[in-house]
Symmetry: none
Subunit: 409 residues, 2 copies
């Protein structure tokens, strides 16, 4: 079974914004044995949308469209769909009630413009959107199933998972995607360690990707059913884990922060943080995990030198002598933070994110991570490549990774 994914928006086709919905949908469809054969990105124009729908229906069994369901003049997907169906937009009273209810719950009045979002082509059905104002639409064009969702990724994902996926036909074959996230070595080193697994023609297709500061190994396995595809995927994942050992952070939806959090939780340990160059990013990662208040006490962002002195009783003389970016400062920050908060572990980060502030002796990218725990304090020095934002990201991940390795021991 084949699908075409269409994303609609002037901001997408002009390159002002990046379409991430199509990749998400392609993976979700693949997991259900439905092959995305093309993604098309087009502008906000009803005629163009109608033509694309007709062309997609001619080559695919199923079409998914994202975007263009907003309440403003440039949102024309429902009009394009109506044109492709040879149908008219009609008011769906149930939808209108739901949109009004959405605003009522938020103590806001519905703007008249939002009424258009309750208009659905005659012969189509509305798809509920409990987390936004634009309902989706399920329809048929030239006998092929068409599903339209809002372009806002959170609304699209919610609608796909809860309402569209259950409507999709279950294919005979199953494709399973697994991902093994690693941290600590470059993509080519990881690639070398699993080179034979990556050779084409294996039972599972294996490749590497770099995303979000981690090197991830992708596994794509195909089987007659879930159990066969799953077994192949599990075998590949086990072999990758065996070869990469502690470089493996986690699988699939796991993140560095969720893995560290789970290790802390299992040990009944708590954590506090003292951040300089990362400015709160470590804390933000940790608290992105629901339930992180079970183990994360909080911390300090010590951005100005003076704050380091005040908050952790890092002796001013130490900073004057060694600098705020130094092994000594990282150690004092971690120990001061652990003492002040009473946490089992305290993690400190001090470094130079750039673009300014570097010197020959202390270049941009220099990082010290301090880790104070039950058995004492360690400090790790790194020189990170990249620009400000990648340095800050890598610094946050490097700090969390030192804690992960300490918790594994």
């Amino acid at each position: 079974m084949k699908a075409v994914i269409i994303s609609v928006g002037d901001e997408l086709v002009s390159g002002v914004a990046l379409d991430t919905n199509s990749a998400y949908l392609a993976r979700q469809l693949g997991a259900r044995g439905i092959e995305a054969v093309a993604h098309w990105t087009i502008g906000d124009d009803a005629e163009t949308i109608a033509e694309a729908l007709a062309a997609a229906a001619a080559v695919a069994d199923c079409v998914i469209v994202t975007g263009g369901l907003g309440p403003t003049e440039d949102d024309l997907t429902r009009q394009g769909l109506a044109r492709a169906m040879g149908s008219e937009l009609v008011l769906d009273k149930g939808c209108l009630a739901e949109i009004e209810e959405f605003f009522r719950r938020r103590n806001r009045a519905m703007a008249p413009a939002n009424r258009i979002q309750a208009m659905i082509p005659a012969g189509a059905k509305a798809i509920p959107n409990p987390i936004g104002t634009a309902p989706g639409i399920a329809a048929a064009v030239a006998g092929k199933a068409v599903y339209v969702t809002p372009g806002v990724p959170s609304e699209m994902e919610h609608m796909f998972a809860n309402y569209i996926a259950p409507l999709l036909p279950r294919e005979a074959g199953v494709i399973i995607y697994r991902t093994v996230h690693t941290f600590g070595q470059g993509e080519s080193d990881i690639g070398s360690a699993i080179a034979e697994l990556m050779a084409r023609g294996g039972k599972a297709t294996i490749g590497t990707t770099v995303a979000g500061g981690l090197v991830s190994v992708r596994v794509i396995s195909r089987g007659a059913d879930e159990s066969e595809a799953g077994r192949l995927a599990d075998q590949a994942v086990a072999e990758i884990r065996r070869r990469l050992g502690k470089l493996v952070v986690g699988l699939d939806e796991e993140t560095m922060a969720s893995v560290v959090g789970e290790l802390l939780r299992r040990r009944g340990a708590t954590l506090a943080t003292a951040e300089s160059c990362t400015g709160g990013m470590v804390g933000q990662f940790i608290t992105s995990v629901p339930g992180s208040s079970d183990y994360y006490l909080g911390g300090v962002i010590a951005y100005a030198n003076d704050m380091k002195v005040r908050q952790f009783s890092v002796p001013e003389e130490l900073i004057t002598r060694h600098g705020a970016v130094s092994e000594q400062a990282a150690k004092a920050m971690a120990e001061g933070c652990r003492k002040a908060t009473g946490a089992t572990w305290a993690l400190s980060v001090t470094g130079i994110a750039g673009p300014a502030g570097g010197s020959e002796e202390k270049p941009v990218g220099l990082l010290y991570v301090g880790l104070a725990g039950p058995d004492g304090t360690t400090v790790h020095r790194h020189i990170l490549p990249g620009v400000r934002e990648t340095i800050r990201l890598r610094a946050s991940l490097t700090a969390l990774n030192h804690l992960r390795l300490a918790l594994l021991d």
Copy 2:
């Protein structure tokens, strides 16, 4: 003049990797007056590639293709192009010499597989690729210009800027993209306030997008030259600003954090933060701006209740009586933070991000923002919609926005 951008790759169409090349090329073309009317992502299949090239040549004046020029079995773009041209692949000796030279400079032997990269359809021309092994290809399909580049973004960007852009016809027109970022009202309210501007057929095309928690108004203006297109864009931006007033956060590359930072810098003021539910996100946003150490002192992440007590001398009795998520706690956090750090302004955030922790009286999404400044302390209460991650994002932006509005006064 119209262009279609085609990206080729199984990893792209399956959603395992994200295509960023098309957005880059669309912006580059737009800056040269060439409108990207569609992006198509397709798999590694010669027949599919040939069909896409023919279809693109039928609707556009110029086609740019990225990907599928590698040395392995699944790289089939040159074969697809030859098929679309009704031509055969022939060895380009100049290309072969360049590829051999590329390996020689790196002290590596050229693998036999790389020879295919010197094969070019008869009637086409190779485009040099000094930073990689795959030359690009300039050709014509059905009388329309076709340019093919490697899929590796750095090689594609280098080839486009140095070899393809100079070959593109200079259009009689220029397209300019501007973006006006707003915060504080929904997309439909913003749309209503600028409805006539958004009506189709105006001198500039105006639309709205929601991204990263902000509602942004996009302006696309076309003119005979840079000066005319720029003047039209400036007029539209000025009119949008006039209508939306303080809802406008900034333009183009500006962010909430960069705008707040610039306001603080201009006033010679400093800032400290006290975060609970956002767990460091506010600090991370502020410090994402280079040079933010000029005005940001740092702050505290008070995630556990106990940390609120310790760090800001928020009286324990206050938390017991009103709760950690309360107007009183937000006020005490902001004032305690301001006092402890000596900052001009202190911003506090306490709320319930969910999914757990909500109650009838204090639902998930409840947020208090405290702002302590030279003229006293204000506390703002909000109920934010969405799930954990969107609530945290909106909470951070809401807090920074209150500071922005206070600094504007």
